[in-house]
């Protein structure tokens, strides 16, 4: 393979590079002839691409979260004028009050950005890229070039999405699910004009990025493991990235097909989703389409998507909890099995988002059964994490704390999934704040906690420096308490049937009792948002000024990434790739604190 050859030639340069620069080690040493462009911009090094995904994701997260701050201000203080909003948004916030159109645009963009750009690209894009070659023992991805394209398609998608924020009629505003006919007809909503075309274009580019990345992750894991690294010896992080990539590769194309049909309906006069419409004073000619067809296509990705978001977090938390408890992950095979079960079931439950669309109740019954079945592998995972920390010797690094926080929020949000997955309860709670509370806790907060755990834990590998611990602790505690304060009370709003995506509740006799609660939630949102900025500051400050790493293995972990040099070059290991002899979880075995995967099994070692 030509690819291998390229990498091996790199390897020699790397060896020299590392030796020459180790003493004043600052930055990332690759080949001498690397220009700025090929090193930092069009890089084919998976570690650099991971950083590109991460930093792009962080920028998107700030934008997406800032949008939520703005619409939370509206929800809490509908009668107060905020002049700064007019400064930022112009006629979308005349007199300091955002318009309903602006509110819906913000809500839509918040969802799109967080779900796709931050928690898909920013999370699995970052850590799949960083950890797959390092933990399976490969010099790079199967195709570094495709990997680079994957990032740049994401970048293009980002550019198009940013552009859509500045068009005169505003960005898409029909919700992140973009249900037609609302999203198909410019006359039905101002956001469904050019903003929607840009949204669809951006998402199409994003799907391309995901497929290029996903195929790469799968082929790297299957084909490029180092000697001795059988599939049962790879860390759970890799298993989770593997299933994530499989989910993405199988479901994103379906989303793309749904979007293409939507584009046809918008511009080519077709009627895939449109039927019998009377909009803006005139009857349209479309007949015979089904708006529900789109929902099927959308949720066939949409549901696996939530596992695409949460599986990498699960994998990383498994790793972080084991390392910091100084204990093997409990039930490795059960953990892999439950990931597998979740991945399979992920494809069989999409219609639980559609219980109240007029779905055949008999068909709905199967989706209830399959949906609640997912709770079984999820429960196995939770109990295994609990048993992993049981009788451990836990070090509360910021990463470990976020790992514990992840388990806590995953339990809280997962249990409300049992409510919503049961169709009879869903009739009442569907599209209310209960749903908002549920998925924000289980795939928003939890996934972010998994991501934070990953960032704090692997930061030394990425930047050869540590992040500031104290800021990490402050970040964790305010975020954990804040997240519960924000989302827990929303369950009650949902129980009252309070609908999502309302601009103002003050005219509703049934929902106006929550005015004070909404104020409380929004104030906590402001505090938590400021705390995230503190994290961002810590992240960027530590790249340049953080405490330097002085050892290759700062957490005393067993996995292969910690056998690379402090400043790994392109190709990761200066010499040969180490051989693997054991699984990744020999912590506290036979009186040893930890036994790296590269250590051969000695004959007198106890079996497990």
């Amino acid at each position: 393979m030509s690819n291998e050859a390229t990498l091996h030639s790199h390897q020699h340069e790397v060896t020299h590079g590392t030796v020459a620069h180790d003493d004043h080690g600052n930055g990332h040493h690759e080949h001498h002839e690397d220009s700025f462009i090929s090193k930092y911009v069009f890089s084919m090094d998976h570690k650099m691409i991971a950083k590109q995904f991460l930093i792009t994701g962080i920028i998107w997260a700030i934008i997406g979260a800032a949008f939520s701050v703005i619409f939370r201000l509206q929800l809490a203080f509908p009668d107060t004028s905020f002049p700064f909003l007019e400064t930022i948004l112009g006629h979308w916030a005349k007199g300091g009050h955002i318009t309903p159109e602006a509110y819906y645009a913000l809500v839509t963009m918040h969802g799109t950005i967080l779900v796709f750009f931050v928690l898909t690209a920013g999370l699995s894009g970052t850590f799949s890229n960083l950890l797959i070659p390092l933990q399976v023992g490969a010099r790079d991805m199967a195709s570094p070039f495709m990997n680079m394209l994957s990032y740049w398609f994401f970048f293009l998608a980002s550019l198009v999405m940013v552009a859509s924020l500045f068009v005169q009629t505003g960005p898409a505003s029909g919700g992140w699910t973009a249900y037609p006919p609302l999203s198909a007809l410019g006359d039905a909503s101002i956001g469904s004009k050019i903003g929607m075309d840009l949204w669809l274009t951006s998402m199409a580019l994003f799907v391309v990025s995901q497929l290029l990345g996903g195929l790469n992750y799968i082929s790297t894991i299957l084909n490029m493991r180092t000697k001795g690294m059988s599939m049962t010896k790879i860390p759970l992080t890799i298993w989770s990235f593997f299933f994530t990539a499989v989910l993405g590769v199988l479901s994103f194309p379906v989303l793309l097909s749904g979007f293409i049909l939507l584009l046809f309906d918008r511009h080519a006069g077709t009627s895939f989703y449109l039927s019998e419409l009377f909009v803006a004073g005139k009857a349209l000619s479309n007949e015979g389409g089904s708006a529900i067809l789109y929902q099927h296509l959308f949720w066939f990705l949409g549901h696996p998507e939530v596992y695409i978001i949460i599986l990498p977090a699960m994998g990383m938390v498994s790793e972080v909890l084991a390392v910091n408890s100084r204990k093997p992950i409990f039930g490795y095979l059960a953990m892999v099995g439950s990931l597998f079960a979740i991945a399979i079931l992920a494809f069989l439950v999409w219609a639980h988002h559609m219980f109240v669309t007029g779905l055949n109740p008999f068909l709905g019954a199967f989706f209830v059964l399959l949906t609640l079945l997912i709770a079984v592998p999820s429960a196995i995972k939770v109990f295994n994490w609990l048993t992993t920390i049981w009788k451990g010797n836990i070090r509360f690094t910021p990463a470990a704390l976020f790992g514990i926080g992840f388990v806590s929020t995953f339990i809280s949000g997962g249990l409300t999934g049992i409510w919503l997955g049961n169709s009879s309860i869903d009739i009442h709670l569907h599209d209310t704040y209960f749903v908002i509370a549920h998925f924000h806790i289980v795939m928003g907060v939890s996934a972010f906690f998994g991501m934070f755990a990953g960032i704090y834990h692997w930061y030394p590998k990425m930047y050869s420096r540590y992040m500031n611990n104290t800021l990490g602790y402050i970040h964790f505690w305010i975020t954990l308490v804040g997240a519960y304060c924000i989302f827990w009370p929303m369950h009650y709003e949902g129980m009252a049937g309070m609908p999502r995506r309302y601009f103002d509740y003050s005219n509703w006799e049934s929902f106006k009792q929550f005015v004070e609660l909404n104020k409380f939630i929004s104030i906590v949102v402001l505090i938590v948002f400021a705390t995230q900025l503190l994290f961002v500051f810590n992240f960027f400050y530590s790249i340049f000024k953080g405490r330097k790493l002085t050892t290759t293995n700062p957490w005393n972990a067993t996995t292969l990434e910690w056998t690379t040099p402090i400043h790994p070059g392109h190709g990761n290991w200066p010499g040969e790739i180490p051989e693997v002899h054991r699984w990744a979880y020999d912590y506290s075995k036979d009186g040893h604190d930890f036994i790296p995967q590269t250590v051969p099994v000695s004959p007198d070692e106890s079996k497990h």
């Binding site: 002049p83 159109e101 819906y104 919700g175 249900y179 006919p181 609302l182 007809l185 419409l277 009377f278 909009v279 389409g289 529900i292 093997p328 409990f330 039930g331 109240v356 109740p361 709905g364 209830v368 059964l369 709770a375 196995i380 939770v382 048993t387 049981w390 009788k391 451990g392 010797n393 704390l401 514990i404 806590s408 049992i418 049961n422 169709s423 009879s424 009739i427 009442h428 599209d431 500031n468 611990n469 104290t470 800021l471 308490v481 827990w488 009650y492 129980m495 009252a496 049937g497 309302y502 509740y505 509703w508 006799e509 049934s510 609660l517 400021a530 503190l534 912590y587 506290s588 036979d590």
Partner: protein, 348 residues
């Protein structure tokens, strides 16, 4: 100015926190990595257990504070089923929530790193795995079984004697049509729609349409099942009935249905809730555009006599469209036009 001050304060707080964080890092380097870690561990271990205790108290307090605001007893028989289901699910998930959260934070606190403490090498145990596969599976089977029983009952065919009301969503209000005396809705076609005289597109050649009347408020009879025929003129809407605990999408081109049996009249609810302004509201529950948040209609649940009196005052849409020289919106007519009512009765 105040905005500028607020930003200044936030920045100052940031700077202070950052300086403390930087100083504490230097201190921990001076103290040695191990000692610093032990100290951090003690602090965070304490915080974890404090979070558990305060968190559980907070959950209780939050419930005390908010349980009075979640609309009280369901106002339909179907809603009772759903509330019953919620109760069972709450018990099961509530128990699991409390136990697992206590275990998580208690273990974290108890097994924090200590000098001389060794972690226990415990890679797997099949018996445990089987236990926590089987127990959740059984619990979930029970929930699925109860849930589906309610689900099939709620989504079953409406009883034969159910009253029929059609509700059509449009940006951004609801169009409500009653079948009139014959009890049958006339046919409609979207190309007949005319906002002034024919908002749902009734086919005037269909005899069944002659007595159908439109209303802006939905009137229902207490204790009498009602079947809603739900549709939409433009985008997807959703008929959300929070007090009745029911909900169904309104999809253009594909009619949907749901049926409920109201338990309390509006007057009874005013008494029950102690709120003289109480009103049953229909809320749109599916994002439908800029006016989504204001897409409301009211429901009046009343006795059969009150309902009959109300129906007698209504005027068919056919007549409104054809009778009056200058057709007006149906609601204004329906509300006060009692002189023409007599004429309508004669024509019918």
């Amino acid at each position: 100015m105040s905005g500028f001050l607020a930003v200044l304060v936030v920045v100052l707080i940031f700077v202070v926190i950052f300086q403390i964080a930087k100083a504490s890092e230097y201190v921990s380097i001076l103290k040695g990595e191990k000692k610093a870690r032990q100290q951090n561990n003690r602090i965070n271990g304490f915080l974890l257990i404090a979070f558990l205790v305060l968190g559980l108290i907070g959950v209780y307090y939050c419930n005390e504070l908010l349980k009075g605001k979640i609309l009280g007893e369901a106002a339909s028989e179907q809603g009772d089923s759903i509330d019953n289901m919620i109760m069972w699910t709450l018990y099961i998930t509530g128990i699991v929530f409390v136990i697992t959260q206590i275990l998580l934070f208690w273990f974290a606190f108890k097994y924090q790193e200590r000098e001389g403490q060794k972690a226990y090498y415990f890679p797997h145990n099949n018996k445990l795995e089987v236990i926590w596969t089987v127990i959740p599976a059984i619990a979930l089977t029970v929930l699925v079984a109860i849930g589906l029983r309610h689900w099939f009952r709620i989504t079953s065919e409406a009883p034969k004697d159910a009253m029929v009301v059609e509700i059509t969503g449009k940006q951004f209000n609801w169009l409500i049509r009653y079948p009139g005396k014959d009890g049958q809705l006339g046919s409609k076609f979207y190309k007949n729609i005319n906002d002034a005289t024919n908002p749902v597109g009734q086919d005037w050649d269909d005899q069944l349409n002659k007595d159908d009347f439109m209303a802006t408020e939905m009137h229902l009879v207490v204790g009498k099942p009602v079947k809603l025929i739900i549709g939409s003129r433009d985008v997807v809407h959703d008929v959300g009935l929070p007090h009745f605990r029911m909900k169904m999408d309104a999809v253009p081109g594909i009619p949907t249905t749901m049926w409920i049996t109201p338990k309390f009249t509006t007057a009874q609810m005013k008494e029950k809730t102690g709120n003289p302004d109480f009103i049953y509201e229909i809320a749109c529950d599916q994002m439908c555009g800029a006016g989504h948040y204001s897409m409301r209609a009211n429901i009046v649940v009343e006795t059969q006599e009150e309902f009959d009196a109300w129906v007698a005052k209504q005027k068919s849409q056919y007549e409104l469209a054809h009778g009056a020289a200058t057709p007006a919106a149906p609601q204004q007519e329906a509300a006060k036009d009692s002189t023409q009512k007599a004429v309508a009765a004669i024509i019918d």
